[in-house]
């Protein structure tokens, strides 16, 4: 029996870390826009943002493969800029994960932002605070439970990702072999020991992150 390889675990954490970081940066402005806009465009964008939640990962994976591949729009642009491919590489699966986990970040944020009382936002504006300052000092602190939910769900959802990574990234050690793919691999090789170790890790991690989320939210709501 071979020893357990820790590379997939680190890679999974690295992927989830970067994905969540990018999602915070992208998600907050996007959610802010969606929470307060009344335009038709907003409806369209909100629908688009939710799409990865209901689409089969293979549909997403297929289109991403075309888009990020050698001849795809983003893939060829990236290749010209950095002389590296996106498919089969870490950057490619980060991009894919950001799209895949987007609803996990944006949804809690939008509902959190909407539940912040309109009065205190307007008071802040009247007191001369800019929109940005109001967002940072008033809206975000009042929606902190939603921010935490978005963070935890994005991270956990990315940790558990499988189909999209498999299609866009293949199975390359240190680049795209995340835990879920290592499990698939181990089962195929009838290496149930390795599969068990990884699977139990994922199970424990998912349980703990949800427990943490509910625990903190319960305290904040009291």
């Amino acid at each position: 029996m071979e020893g357990i390889n820790y590379a997939p675990i680190w890679l999974t954490l690295k992927l989830s870390f970067w994905t969540t970081l990018i999602l915070v940066v992208v998600g907050i402005p996007l959610a802010y826009y969606l929470a307060y806009t009344k335009s038709r465009l907003g409806l369209f964008i909100e629908t688009l943002t939710t799409l990865p939640l209901v689409l089969p990962p293979t549909v997403l994976g297929f289109y991403l493969l075309l888009l990020l591949g050698k001849h795809g729009f983003i893939g060829s642009l990236w290749h010209r800029l950095f002389d590296r491919q996106l498919v089969f590489h870490f950057e490619g699966i980060v991009l894919a994960s950001v799209i895949y986990s987007l609803p996990m970040m944006v949804h809690p944020l939008v509902s959190g932002f909407r539940s912040v009382s309109r009065n205190i936002i307007e008071v802040s504006w009247t007191l001369g605070k800019s929109k940005l300052e109001t967002l940072i000092r008033v809206i975000l602190p009042n929606a902190k439970a939603s921010v935490l939910t978005g963070l935890v769900l994005s991270f956990a959802h990315t940790v558990g990702e499988f189909g999209v990574v498999l299609m866009v990234g293949g199975n390359i050690e240190g680049e795209t072999r995340v835990i879920s793919i290592a499990i698939y691999d181990a089962v195929e090789a009838i290496d149930y020991f390795t599969a068990h170790v990884y699977a139990i890790l994922l199970l424990a991690f998912s349980f703990l992150s949800l427990a943490l989320l509910y625990g903190v939210n319960r305290r904040w709501n009291l």
Partner: protein, 252 residues
């Protein structure tokens, strides 16, 4: 905290040495691991990473730009096509010839020598087979079933694995009563302990002549050539034989 995380991730990236990346046909799952283990005793400094899948998948991934350095295919065609396309740079070399077997768990009490009738036995509800579209072992299995005129009759029973190793894992787990898998997988200690196999006569299908080559990407890493040569060495050939592969000096 975030700084610490970043630091850890940064260090991990720096620590990565050049790895020889191999895509290998799924029937090599064990034989190639053993060859690598032997090779690493001689050259512990060379790190190898093995990815197994159907040969057709490896072919498609290499064409799409996957960064593999070596490609082992369960049929010559995929290697030859890549060679024509300039994605494999060494002339395709044969490493072995594969065989297919009928496999079942010991507890099913099926008499495998009643081939091919045993496939029609009502006790057999599912038969595991590799995907014949892109897995050479699946293709060979389908040819055998067709040559016996029973492909249509058993079609409803077939559970299709993405590659032959997945098909083997289906019968191993008992989700299928029978499987048509690679002899090299039936010869692994785990499979041998759990079940029994029956060698399907070679005449029933096109010969599974298997070949390998260095990819364009593989030229960039100098240790690749060393491992490539080792695969043709007597030590490696002994391991192929142990897993039931037939050897050939045919250089097609």
């Amino acid at each position: 905290m975030k700084k610490i995380i970043l630091l850890v991730f940064g260090l991990l990236n720096l620590g990565q040495a050049e790895v020889i990346r191999v895509f290998a046909a799924a029937d090599l799952q064990y034989a190639l691991r053993e060859i690598v283990a032997f090779y690493n005793k001689l050259h512990p400094e060379d790190k190898l990473d093995l990815v197994f899948g159907s040969s057709g998948k490896g072919y498609a991934q290499i064409r799409a730009g996957a960064p593999f350095h070596l490609f082992f295919s369960a049929n010559m065609e995929y290697v030859q096509n890549l060679y024509m396309e300039g994605l494999i740079v060494t002339e395709p070399k044969v490493y072995a010839v594969g065989r297919i077997v009928l496999w079942t768990r010991k507890d099913t009490n099926l008499d495998l020598s009643r081939f091919p009738e045993v496939l029609l036995d009502p006790k057999v509800r599912k038969i595991a087979i590799a995907n014949w579209e892109h897995a050479p072992y699946g293709k060979a299995a389908k040819e055998v079933l067709e040559n016996h005129g029973i492909f249509r009759k058993v079609r409803q029973k077939l559970v299709v694995g993405e590659n032959v190793s997945q098909a083997a894992s289906f019968v191993y787990a008992g989700t299928a009563e029978l499987g048509i898998i690679a002899l090299s997988l039936a010869k692994t200690p785990q499979m041998e302990k759990a079940g029994k196999y029956w060698l399907i006569p070679e005449e029933g299908h096109k010969k599974l002549i298997q070949g390998y080559g260095i990819t364009k990407e593989g030229l960039k890493v100098k240790q690749v050539k060393r491992f490539y040569n080792f695969v043709g060495s007597p030590e490696a050939r002994k391991i192929f034989l142990k897993y039931g592969f037939m050897l050939t000096d045919d250089k097609r």
